[in-house]
């Protein structure tokens, strides 16, 4: 359905193409207001809840709300077929665009086909789709791993024992980040001895496996964690492990630790993309429906904060939940949410 055209995109700063050879789409212009759906999978963790809150907050912003006739969210759980069915239902019900956080990047072939036939704009974010036929709003997962590895390399002069706390096995995010880390470490020429444990992006699990790793394989000269980083630092503190350079995610709790213990050696690089990327995805969908040129694969900027730049009230929030994901601003897209805006959303509405 969409025409493949030449770039650049309508808002080139926000809709940056993933790579030089990324295609650009131009969908036939539709008249608003639009019906847009968000097909979410799993819901029961802070990241997802925060994402949904952000999506609602974004859709409620005045200029966005003006363009929307309906914004519907369905969370189908961990089951891929349920999510596929939800998208099919959205297509059959005549939604103009569907935003999806895919439970499985490769499973949506048939749905993409149907969406294309029905002229529905499909935009994936976070867990994106393995396809050239739908729009992906991408986080550079591998780049994230590379970033963390580079941070460690630059802060650990002589190489040595590194602890790598991985995510959920079998997911592409985990694999990409892991590969990024190892490619950079291997290329550095220094000697690294990496202990890998599975923290499952979950604080208590990460804490437990970190504690075990420290007790049996420690001490380490550097740590990288894909998630559950607050727990990892907690385990270091509990084990009285020396603070060492750390490349990790964007949890508020982690950043609190980084700010507090930087002087003792907890030099952090905290990077990732917060749940606010959903807003970019919705924005992309609207833009595409309006007939603007959008890249098939949008590259999101990483929200990076590195030692010694952790600023209270901006990069971390002492009175917010540890589980809160910081990094909710995409200035190039005109998107910037405060923590209060996101988590307070429902309360204000009530």
């Amino acid at each position: 359905e969409p025409e493949v055209v030449k770039g650049p995109a309508a808002e080139p700063d926000c809709f940056a193409p993933w790579a030089a050879d990324t295609q650009f789409f131009k969908f036939p212009k539709k008249d608003g207001p639009y019906r847009i759906a968000l097909a979410n999978g799993y819901i029961a963790n802070t990241w997802r809840i925060q994402m949904i809150q952000t999506a609602k907050a974004y859709a409620a912003q005045k200029d966005v709300a003006a363009k929307l006739k309906e914004f519907k969210v369905v969370s189908t759980g961990e089951d891929v077929p349920a999510q596929i069915s939800a998208i099919n239902n959205f297509i059959d019900s005549g939604f103009d665009a569907i935003v999806v956080n895919a439970q499985n990047p490769t499973a949506f072939g048939p749905v993409i086909k149907r969406a294309k036939e029905a002229g529905v704009v499909l935009v994936a974010f976070d867990n994106i789709l393995d396809t050239k036929d739908a729009i992906n709003v991408n986080v550079d997962q591998k780049g994230l791993g590379e970033l963390w590895a580079k941070w460690l390399i630059s802060h650990i002069p002589d190489g040595g024992k590194i602890l790598e706390v991985r995510g959920v096995a079998g997911t592409s995010v985990d694999t990409d980040r892991h590969n990024g880390i190892h490619e950079v470490l291997d290329a550095s020429g220094k000697k690294w001895d990496v202990t890998e444990v599975a923290g499952k992006w979950d604080d208590p699990t990460a804490q437990k496996v970190t504690a075990d790793a420290i007790a049996t394989n420690g001490p380490f000269v550097g740590i990288t964690g894909q998630g559950g980083d607050t727990g990892i630092v907690q385990a270091m503190i509990d084990a009285k492990h020396a603070f060492v350079p750390f490349g990790g995610e964007t949890e508020n709790g982690f950043r609190k630790f980084c700010a507090a213990h930087a002087a003792d050696g907890l030099k952090c690089s905290s990077a990732g993309t917060g749940p606010a990327q959903v807003a970019v995805a919705i924005k992309t969908a609207i833009s595409a429906l309006e007939g603007n040129v959008v890249p098939q694969s949008v590259k999101l900027p990483l929200a990076i904060v590195e030692d010694p730049n952790f600023k209270e009230g901006q990069d971390y929030f002492p009175d917010q939940s540890d589980n809160f994901f910081v990094g909710n601003s995409f200035p190039t897209c005109g998107i910037n949410f405060t923590a209060q805006e996101i988590m307070g959303q429902t309360k204000e509405n009530k």
């Binding site: 029961a44 802070t46 809840i49 949904i52 444990v197 496996v209 790793a213 007790a215 939940s321 988590m343």
Partner: protein
């Protein structure tokens, strides 16, 4: 302190324990030693006191949760609401702490009470509505999850653990013995007492063996079942509180990792899933086995796939060693 008398008490009873020890329990403890020896081939640190104490500490969270699970399994029932009871306990305790000093004081009891509430719903379903526990607890688990999602999204949640929770999970009242271990020991001792010395305990075994006969003996079987589920909910929530103390905060998915291991630990400890038979000492062995196995597999540099396979195979092999039902003839 009461701990010394406790230890003294256990030591005093030791010979009797050994005399009456269930071969399954003995084998389970032998398996623990074997596991450690195998682990020490990989790294000497598996035999270090720090590592062992740390395992005991981590095991105590599972231990507290499995205690409740065991009570329910002794009745011939099962509690699949563990994951979100744990999360509810952790999250609600942390939430209460947001309400000033009084909130902090009541945080732990409040978390536990929330778990008990889930248990009571389970208990009403199983005891009074006669819904199979496997399904009603599945449903309450879903409801608890729903409530927590609403809660997390609807309010700015406070989710850091109070100092008291931190202290319970990670502090040291006695040098070198983590508080979590002491708590597990106390809860375990209370459970042993409950099961062996009280009418309630006898009733639990009786109902597990033959509910009809227990009822006709004038036991208020429904109340016993209900209380057992409430205790299970409360202990799951308390496990969550400890876990939150350990991680210094609460998170939604906290309990996911505890459902299957708690069942496996109880059964590995020789308790019959059909109810009516099992000893707490066995559950202790089961909990330690599972925790050690998970930890050793996690630290050995093995891909997740291999870890899962070894985990499964080891459990089957251990059960074949001692967990077999008697031959029918």
């Amino acid at each position: 302190m009461s701990d010394t008398t406790l230890i003294g008490g256990i030591a005093g009873r030791m010979p009797k324990f050994l005399r009456r020890a269930d071969p399954a329990v003995v084998t389970a403890f032998a398996c623990i030693v074997l596991l450690l020896l195998v682990g020490s081939l990989y790294s000497r640190s598996f035999l270090s006191p720090e590592y062992l104490l740390q395992q005991l500490k981590v095991a105590s969270f599972l231990g507290v949760i499995a205690t409740g699970m065991m009570l329910v399994i002794l009745l011939g029932q099962i509690d699949l609401s563990v994951p979100w009871s744990v999360a509810v306990g952790a999250m609600m305790a942390c939430a209460a702490a947001a309400y000033g000093p009084l909130g902090s004081v009541l945080a732990i009891p409040f978390g536990i009470v929330c778990g008990i509430a889930i248990g009571v719903v389970n208990g009403i379903g199983v005891a009074y509505l006669r819904i199979p526990s496997m399904i009603i607890t599945l449903a309450t688990n879903a409801v608890a999850q729903g409530l927590m999602v609403v809660y997390t999204g609807g309010f700015s949640p406070q989710d850091s653990a109070t100092p008291a929770m931190r202290y319970l999970a990670t502090g040291f009242a006695i040098p070198a013995v983590p508080n979590a271990v002491i708590i597990w020991a106390l809860i375990g001792a209370a459970m042993v007492f409950l099961l062996t010395r009280t009418g309630f305990g006898r009733a639990v075994y009786g109902i597990g063996n033959r509910e009809r006969a227990a009822y006709l003996s004038g036991i208020d079987t429904r109340r016993v079942v209900m209380v057992a589920f409430a205790v299970s909910g409360g202990l799951s929530a308390f496990g969550g509180v400890l876990l939150a103390g350990y991680a210094s905060k609460a998170a939604q998915s906290m309990g996911d990792a505890y459902l299957l291991p708690s069942i496996a630990a109880v059964v590995l400890g020789g308790t019959s899933i059909l109810g009516g038979r099992g000893s707490y000492l066995g559950t202790v062995a089961g909990v330690i086995l599972i925790t050690l196995l998970q930890s050793i597999l996690s630290v050995m540099q093995m891909p997740e796939a291999g870890r899962q396979i070894v985990y499964g195979v080891v459990i089957v092999v251990m059960l074949l060693l001692y967990g077999r039902a008697p031959a029918s003839r």
